[in-house]
């Protein structure tokens, strides 16, 4: 058996600019991209090619760093270097800017929706993580500002089912937050990376978290319960993937359908790792299944598994292009 990564499509998404991030909507019918041209584009597969259905260019004054779909798929949030986050409502085939979330002192680096869809998190170079609550009138209110990190916060991601939030930072750490007495508090600090942590991904069960870093490694962290009857949790590093990446690892994606782990690297490569089936969960091992060495012409910034179609992967690059891949096992 041989694992392969076949390139199905490649198209210019943000010409003369960087493509920073791509995100599939929950049914997997649309792909949103954003970039250095300050625009968000919505892509749809028409026949055998990918067509740009919408260009949202009026919302932001500077680079759009990341985008995130709400769990219902009716809203898109965009985080920008202009210090704001826009919420876009999908109205049929169109998008309209519903509201602009302001408050961060400088660049917003990431935005993420909680699984319920009623909470949103943003993080910024101002070192803070903000939690926003959405009410039934589509009003957004900041319910907490957490200043646990000591540096630029790069990424935020929610647990797949619980209201547990994780963040990654230039201070080399990962932090986890829960609500406690109407406030959001840092419940765990994951230390081990020796440089900036760029991105995070939960596994399908939510019991493990993958982090990727400028130190060229990927780490797998596992939740453990230290004391009997004790509600506190701790996270331990159970695996470090080192020696595989030639430069900074900018993104990691853990497929919720297959458990495959994909990485986006500054050496222009896309890699897919598989967990070894018989490994001990407290000391697990992963093997490199596929390496596509020149997947793009420049740094790869993001990898995203399709939410419904197993093995379908999107990637985007500094060269402004998006590629769609099929990861398969060849008999």
């Amino acid at each position: 058996m041989k694992e392969v990564l076949n390139k199905l499509h490649k198209f210019s998404a943000h010409p003369d600019s960087r493509c920073w991030y791509v995100a599939w909507n929950p049914p997997g019918t649309l792909l949103a991209s954003c970039g250095g041209d300050r625009a968000i584009r919505i892509w749809k597969k028409e026949g055998d090619s990918w067509e740009c259905q919408n260009v949202l260019s009026e919302g932001h004054q500077r680079t759009v760093r990341k985008v995130a779909w709400s769990p219902c798929g009716n809203y898109l949030a965009s985080a920008s270097f202009d210090a704001t986050t826009c919420i876009w409502a999908k109205k049929g085939d169109d998008f309209e800017c519903l509201t602009v979330l302001e408050g961060h002192e400088n660049e917003v680096k990431c935005v993420a929706w909680a699984p319920s869809g009623s909470l949103l998190a943003t993080c910024s170079r101002d070192k803070s993580v903000w939690v926003w609550e959405v009410d039934e009138e589509e009003e957004y209110e900041c319910v907490s500002v957490v200043n646990a990190h000591t540096q630029d916060v790069k990424h935020v991601v929610w647990h797949p089912t619980q209201e547990l939030l994780a963040s990654a930072s230039y201070d080399n750490s990962v932090r986890l937050y829960r609500e406690e007495d109407d406030d959001w508090v840092c419940k765990a600090t994951l230390e081990g990376h020796t440089s900036t942590v760029w991105s995070l991904a939960f596994d399908p069960s939510g019991q493990r978290l993958a982090s990727c870093s400028d130190d060229r490694t990927v780490k797998i962290w596992k939740e453990c319960h230290p004391g009997e009857g004790d509600n506190s949790t701790d996270w331990k590093c159970v695996c470090t993937l080192s020696g595989f990446h030639g430069r900074t690892v900018y993104d990691v994606a853990w497929c919720q359908l297959t458990g495959a782990l994909a990485t986006a690297c500054g050496d222009d490569g896309v890699r897919v790792f598989r967990e070894d089936p018989n490994s001990d969960p407290d000391q697990t091992t992963f093997s490199l299944a596929v390496h596509a060495p020149k997947a793009h012409n420049q740094d790869i910034n993001c990898v995203a598994w399709h939410p419904k179609e197993a093995g379908l992967l999107a990637s985007c690059s500094d060269d402004g292009e998006i590629a769609i891949w099929s990861y398969q096992t060849e008999a």
């Binding site: 660049e107 170079r125 740094d299």
Partner: protein
């Protein structure tokens, strides 16, 4: 303008500039593939202006050809620069100017790494980390005031 009072290093050592590069017959032959070499990279950065002195980075010995390493087949360029004093507050700006000059001049395939010469600056690790973070470099270059200062460093003197 009484600039002298504000200078961090009022009397820097000045070094002689290197001569013009001699072109070989092979380099002038358009039919021969001509990989980018250390000297060509050095020529791109040696005339960058120092942010506070009317001198080039070469004249202040901030950049030297021996601290430039290019690997054309692997598309990598590494430049080490030496701040004139260990507490130079301009170190990040100088490194950013070198990086921007190379980003604008070289083909997109090149990976450009700019570092401080080891042991020559008090905040070496912090400056190196900031220069290596492309997201922060991208954000800095969207700041029009900072971009103007970088462009001044990169403009040729008349």
């Amino acid at each position: 303008m009484s600039g002298a009072a504000r200078l961090e290093n009022a009397n820097p050592l000045i070094f002689q500039r290197s001569g013009e590069r001699c072109l070989t017959a092979e380099e002038e032959d358009e039919n021969v593939a001509d990989p980018i070499d250390d000297r060509e990279i050095f020529d791109l950065i040696r005339s960058i202006n120092d942010p506070e002195h009317p001198l080039s980075l070469e004249e202040l010995n901030v950049v030297e050809q021996v601290r430039v390493r290019v690997n054309d087949p692997e598309s990598t360029v590494s430049v080490e620069f030496t701040p004139t004093i260990p507490h130079c507050s301009m170190a990040t700006l100088i490194g950013l100017s070198i990086k921007v000059k190379l980003l604008r001049s070289l083909p997109d395939r090149f990976k450009i790494d700019v570092h401080i010469t080891p042991g020559t600056h008090a905040s070496e690790d912090a400056v190196n980390k900031q220069l290596a973070d492309k997201e922060r470099v991208a954000a800095a270059l969207e700041n029009s005031q900072l971009l103007e200062v970088v462009n001044q460093c990169l403009s040729s003197r008349t």
